[in-house]
Symmetry: C2
Subunit: 142 residues, 2 copies
DNA sequence: CTAATCTAGTTCGCAGTACCAACTATTCGT
DNA sequence: ACGAATAGTTGGTACTGCGAACTAGATTAG
């Protein structure tokens, strides 16, 4: 039997790294009493409120999925929907004070853990890898 | 108001890269009619059957979650449970021929897409980044 | 200016994910 | 042989994410 499975060190490294990052997300979110999806949403709102359509695009979610996600964090008083009087169809999701605090805590904790991992790398290597990844992201995020 | 949010380029790059990889996983899995979790399980079994406990550890899932996941792929005839006569408590999950084919297809397609992304990087940069990530993974995977 | 259309978001039903607690069955230690 | 440890399953709950159908408000065409 022929082994038809392609082995790419690059792809393998990315996939395994991705899982490692996911696990950090899961762990930190859980420690703060929310789900990773909710954490991602909160972190995305740190920069300011965003419309539902915008969020749905940023999070790669169908608008119906997003409605539910926002419902659940709103029920926890972490986010509020604010309507726009200029276009009464739309609304913006923004962080409540509690949500703002939680978002920053989660964001900082995740950054701290990933940075701690990065410390095991020589500074030059880490900077080089960061630059390469950032360049790759720039190419593949429209 | 003070901005208490830490900004780390390294952490940000990892998180965004992780999401990009996740989207590839979601897209490819969907195109093959399975969920990303099922795809991850199938890919993990390419190397041969594994016990439920082993899988639960590798996938960071509670054993009850894994039972359900294996149930669902077994219902689709992609995986079978095989009991061990030497220890009648345990069982191994292994790929069926259809599962083997699907696993390889999904794995190859994911690798191909990630490699294609990597092509936008100079060879030296890509190799350097791969080495750095691999080193980091070695440190943080027991 | 109204009718047709488009857009923004919600609701509903469904399958899947993941957890915990409780359980069964088997094996191991003494 | 009996109590403890181990492997896996079951059942209940909350959350995730999709598609289809829907509501309401904005926009465009005639």
């Amino acid at each position: 039997m022929i082994d038809t499975t392609v082995e790419s060190e690059f792809a393998t490294a990315l996939v395994r790294m991705s899982h490692l990052v996911q696990y950090v997300f899961v762990d930190v979110s859980r420690e703060h009493g929310i789900t990773p999806q909710q954490a991602q949403l909160l972190c995305m709102l740190i920069g300011g409120p965003l419309g539902m359509s915008e969020l749905s695009r940023l999070l790669h979610l169908e608008k119906s999925s997003l409605s539910g996600l926002v419902d659940r964090v709103e029920r926890r008083d972490l986010v509020t929907r604010v309507g726009d009087p200029r276009d009464r169809r739309t609304c913006q999701a923004g962080l409540t004070p509690a949500g703002e605090q939680l978002a920053r805590d989660v964001h900082n904790e995740i950054s701290a853990r990933l940075d701690a991992m990065g410390q095991t790398l020589p500074d030059a290597d880490r900077r080089h890898a960061t630059a390469a990844i950032t360049a790759l992201l720039a190419q593949h995020t429209r």
